[in-house]
Point group: D2
Amino acid sequence: MEPPATGLDAALGFELLDLAEDRARGRFEVTDAVRQPAGIVHGGAYAAMAETLASAATHVHVREAGEAAMGQSNLTSFMRPVSGGCVHAEARRRHRGRTSWVWEVDFTDDEGRLCATSRVTLAVRPVPQRP
Amino acid sequence: MEPPATGLDAALGFELLDLAEDRARGRFEVTDAVRQPAGIVHGGAYAAMAETLASAATHVHVREAGEAAMGQSNLTSFMRPVSGGCVHAEARRRHRGRTSWVWEVDFTDDEGRLCATSRVTLAVRPVPQRP
Amino acid sequence: MEPPATGLDAALGFELLDLAEDRARGRFEVTDAVRQPAGIVHGGAYAAMAETLASAATHVHVREAGEAAMGQSNLTSFMRPVSGGCVHAEARRRHRGRTSWVWEVDFTDDEGRLCATSRVTLAVRPVPQRP
Amino acid sequence: MEPPATGLDAALGFELLDLAEDRARGRFEVTDAVRQPAGIVHGGAYAAMAETLASAATHVHVREAGEAAMGQSNLTSFMRPVSGGCVHAEARRRHRGRTSWVWEVDFTDDEGRLCATSRVTLAVRPVPQRP
């Protein structure tokens, strides 16, 4: 549904599946690119996917107003190690303020068990106009 | 200093430079693999490096006691976008409890300006013995 | 429903309304005791109520197993200032692990608008036995 | 040094000792007003003191520019229970951006041991002009 991923999203194999104004979904396969040395999913992979989903969904909706979204903070809590299959991410917008948006992103494994959860805060600011 | 990186650490080009008991240092170059679509360093790259440094440094020091470290939470705050050069990470242990360790990780650009900061909490638990 | 509040809970006028195993509810009136100098609810009042609800609900359910709950971290995000009426808190357990429980607590004003949200992580440990 | 505390600051017995532009100090005595039911300092007391110090110090310095500071998020991690004496808070500014300031606040007991640490993010915005 989205143009091919580039950058970190491509390096870690992230797929964006849906970007509505107040919901977004994505997923990644548990390949070596998202593993830490013990073989489970690296905590940074969850944090990165949360950042990607929240930023992309916010961006799509604020750019029409000439604004840009910029990550401000990301708190990810890890509940359950995952070592194979896919990790499924579901983002839900919790706040849409004039200058900041807040998202919660839940991660589940193929059995639907909660593995991690993130809260992402984005600053929304006018894009500087170029003359 | 460390064995060659594997997994996510390799995919994002992370280098570990030093792993003392209460300090750790690492760095990554700003290549495409750590960028988000607007060309700056992806927030998840900072969060991931913080997780890597804190986990690796804790692991080295608890494994002698037959214990393992497991990421529990990671709060990363983003202060300043970086679009080139290297990102330098310096981790400082703030707490060494019986069952959890807490690290703060500061990220600076090549000019030494603070770009992001993370607080990483790790659970420390006995490694299950194999008969 | 609960015995009279003591300590900080009494000082800030917290009421606990319900403590189920995976849900908890409470509330406080916006009196001077919870205000900051500009007249709105002090951020610490939300953080404290989240801590109270999550700790109390976890405690009720782990003490039967001879365990105790101890606050480990609390992230509170503030969305909307409140200057009067009541603040209503609703806690939802997100994770029940062997050694940690995670709660999300939403705060709404009398119009049901989201004002703040907290994520509270508690360590669950055996209570030391007294001989 | 400061005018007498009001509101939550007074209810919990907070003292502000110093408010420089990039450092601030405060303290509170461990009275019943800051205790949770088990007799130790309530986690919300640390979070509240961090919020008070960071907000007050930011406020003093941005109001000259016609701006106001508003709490955006507060992450407090608890390391060591305190049951008596005083809790000493030391805040250090980590970031001074155009639209947000970030503070770290460390809490120590009378023996100088780290008991808790907070990261507080404040939004800085122009104060609406009254005609």
